[in-house]
Amino acid sequence: MSGDDHHPPLLHADRSVRATRVLAIRQLLIDKGVVTAAEVDDVVARSRARTPADGAKVVARAWTDDAFRGRLLSDARAAVGELDYRLSHDAELAVVENTAEVHHLVVCTLCSCYPTSLLGPPPDWYKSFAYRQRAVIEPRAVLREFGLELPAAMGLSVVDSTADVRYLVLPRRPSGTEGMSQDDLAGLVTRDSMIGVAEAASP
């Protein structure tokens, strides 16, 4: 936005000027027939329904099917397509695999890029200035704040999302999960483990 004097200053009371203006924009777009109320409501409903459960299913499948895991790492869009997940065409998805040697952490320093098709909307902290600023300069300290202390010998790779590539972490499969079903395994795959601020939960 320019510094146009016509705009009222931003307020940070309970209902901000920007809140009112976006509702005014919705109203005008409907009145002019540019969009319909039903379309807007439909997108609201679909976005409310998205959760990290889809990403967790992808991870659990990769844990139990090596060939799928390979395809997921080399062409994530095609691999998740096998599970009937369709990604938005705006950006590619890259899956990065945690191993005994290297841990991955995802950030978007420029804004908030995130694999919402599989994880739902990003958490507030992912969009915060503190996370965006610190994840790339002191990632181990950031992980410690999340309760994850990486062994000093473990490598740490921080991947910075862009509008063109979003990242999903394939966490390590926890020990003691041999023989568990894919559904039960998916229950161990937390949102945070797919961002890289946590390990998958233990059974």
Binding site: L29, V40, S47, Q133
Partner: protein
């Protein structure tokens, strides 16, 4: 000085606040409007980003996430001639009046 949106590596002592706020209705609307406007090919994600990144730095920093989206949606729709600022002002004033 990097642009205001380019946050990577800026020093800060701030801890990461992990509290989640519950989305207000207008935030859902802002999010959904972008989805619908994209589907109609009226705006795209790169334009949304450009509109956010073009905000006055002080406004960028003091705005919440969806306040930034709201600002960008308005910038783009006015720029493309879909809506005028005067129209938005008028309806916003009406909504303000209605809500008192």
């Amino acid at each position: 000085m990097p642009a205001v949106h380019d946050r990577g590596g800026l020093p800060t002592d701030q801890p990461i606040d992990r509290a989640e706020h519950e989305w207000a209705d207008w935030e859902h609307v802002a999010n959904a409007l972008v989805g619908v406007l994209r589907r109609h090919k009226i705006i795209n994600v790169d334009e949304l980003r450009r509109g956010i990144e073009a905000m006055v730095p002080a406004e960028y920093e003091s705005s919440s996430y969806y306040e930034r989206w709201s600002a960008s949606i308005e910038t783009l729709l006015v720029e493309k001639g879909v809506l005028t600022t005067a129209e938005i002002d008028a309806v916003a004033a009406e909504l303000d009046g209605r809500w008192g």
